[in-house]
Symmetry: C2
Subunit: 414 residues, 2 copies
Amino acid sequence: MTELEATVRRLRDASGTVAQLPTTIKNDVLHDLADRLEREIATIVKANEVDLVTARDGGLGEAKLKRLALTEQSVRQMADGLRQVAALPDPVGEVTRDDRVPSGLRVRQVRCPLGVILMIYEARPNVTVDAFALCFKAGNVCFLKGGHEAARSNAALAELIRASLVAQHVPPDALALLTTSDRETMKRLLSMEGSIDLVIPRGGIDLIRFVSEHSRIPVVKHDRGVCHIFVDASAAMDQAIEICATAKTSAPATCNAAESVLVHDAIASSFVPRLVKRLRDDGVEVRGDAGVCRLSNLVVPAGEDDWGKEYLDLVLSLRIVADVDAAIAHIRRYGSNHTEAILTSDEATAERFTKSVQASCTIVNASTRFNDGYQLGLGAEIGISTSKIHAYGPMGLTALTTQRYVVHGTGQTR
Amino acid sequence: MTELEATVRRLRDASGTVAQLPTTIKNDVLHDLADRLEREIATIVKANEVDLVTARDGGLGEAKLKRLALTEQSVRQMADGLRQVAALPDPVGEVTRDDRVPSGLRVRQVRCPLGVILMIYEARPNVTVDAFALCFKAGNVCFLKGGHEAARSNAALAELIRASLVAQHVPPDALALLTTSDRETMKRLLSMEGSIDLVIPRGGIDLIRFVSEHSRIPVVKHDRGVCHIFVDASAAMDQAIEICATAKTSAPATCNAAESVLVHDAIASSFVPRLVKRLRDDGVEVRGDAGVCRLSNLVVPAGEDDWGKEYLDLVLSLRIVADVDAAIAHIRRYGSNHTEAILTSDEATAERFTKSVQASCTIVNASTRFNDGYQLGLGAEIGISTSKIHAYGPMGLTALTTQRYVVHGTGQTR
């Protein structure tokens, strides 16, 4: 047995125990870990500094360095996050159906953990703690593979997680870190469909493609977000300017940031120049179609590859469309099943839009940035699924479980 | 564009229309089809006879010939099945959550179709009609690939389905049949993850393995059922004999038939001889472990490969186990995540069993054969999923949909 297979075997063995842990023990682990993180801030930040130096020397860009960095404040945020997950209701054991069928059988559906979850993500060490907390609270064990640039940070965090597990007499094999990135190891891992129950790839298009291509394990993708905002002729102007601008600028590197604004032709001549000015003032580069370019000289002409592009940066594409149907057609072609917004004061138009676009979340008269587990009331999320299967949109605790049937009879045969 | 790609493109294009069909139109199609099947019984049975002759000449076994055969009665059953699906509530548009979050947003989750579903199944022409009906009622279009032995029967049925679609002004491309079985075509199809939303393979282990290995499309497996019954020391004897015998004999080729019985050591000397006698009387070959062989001379000694085997025939394996924990350990090793039953009058033992075995359905004091969509109150099913992701157990109409978020705001930004 290789080391990889031995690790997966240990996770599998631990999963039976973790699935049956009482809620109090799971919460004790999360609280213990929160306290431990706060006690060990210095250790964590020191490990992270080594990662940062190496990554900076290796030429990692500023945006990615920012996501890699841990500070006293971000460690305290992780600790708070753990306490929030501890406060959420435990989904395991929840009875979602309980009735009697004509044969006299009592039929229940009961939430249970998925088992072993493999998650592959970027060099963001806070995700290591978040992902562990959500998987564990939902009764799962997890195998985490974060970006290699965060190796030392993740190792330091995993050591603390294991210490918290041991302190509450839970098998430390409820968590393992995969420290190699080589493709052959990944392929072997992705073929272990009998031992791993779910793989969640989160990140770049190449990673998602590699996982879909090689995985025999079920995959729930957290793919890119090409989010559009359609500004209808009936939209409230000032509000629309505010929503479009902040949906781009408040967190440009997140998957729910707006990447493209479509403007109804009837209001383009007044709306486009105002929006472009606001965006330019906020430091955003605007790439516009021919009509937009005619209305403003502050824009860069958009190329065909600007449509459907996830900039993850202070860049936005802007297009004039004939009407809501043209907006829907554009989104059908270029959207990514993530988040699509319409700004309108006409209810029928809003309904036509929300019924016709394909997205895990369609939003009327608010920013695309609300497609988020916290904002939509899930308490926490492990990411935003763009797969329609199993979970679509923000994935919270219940999406990390499944439902099984438990049936009681009195001797029924058929 | 190849013919295969053109077909998938037509399905994709039709899926937008089918997703938005009103319930009445969908039900009209199903009723029209039910009437049409009954009018065309002669045509269907004639097409099926050609399939049967070819299959018999090709050496297809009796059990499989029986599943391939269509009679006046089975066509009438299909028609009744269609009327039952028409009578079920439409899952599309169902609002499963509707509340307001602190930002003031109104957050709803709404059921919507998955889109394009590829289903691969055995040479059972009745499945063609059932699968179409369920996919269509849930707002999906489907690409069906039945066993090649049923080619003419399926073509005849598909022609009637298309006629019913056209009669209600629904795009006939709501259904396509894949008529080739070659592996290269299947591989190309399974790589179309942008165009097909779900693949459901149902059937032999080789098919399931081929699909898991090559599919980039999400897969919900309908894998084999290695179903056990554990007879506890406290079980009601007569009832246990009845349940064990009928769970094998009432439909031995179905996935929810019992394949293996585990008997508590404390009652083995009285129970085993009685059960073996009953099974032998019912024409069942019993393969027993050493302890069983000592108690009865009517059994064949079981080999290691009898444990975990899906016979799909009048054969059953029988083993004596020390207690419920030994039964759980046996099932952990040999079960297939399908159906596991315990017969006991002790509630604590029942709970220990139902909490510890992994199965889409655990059953206390009733036959394994109740793990079935109709029996569990789903109205109908497209099969029984052994995947924990998306749907676990019988897959009814709602499992052929997903839930998306629809959010209404009043200008919120973040």
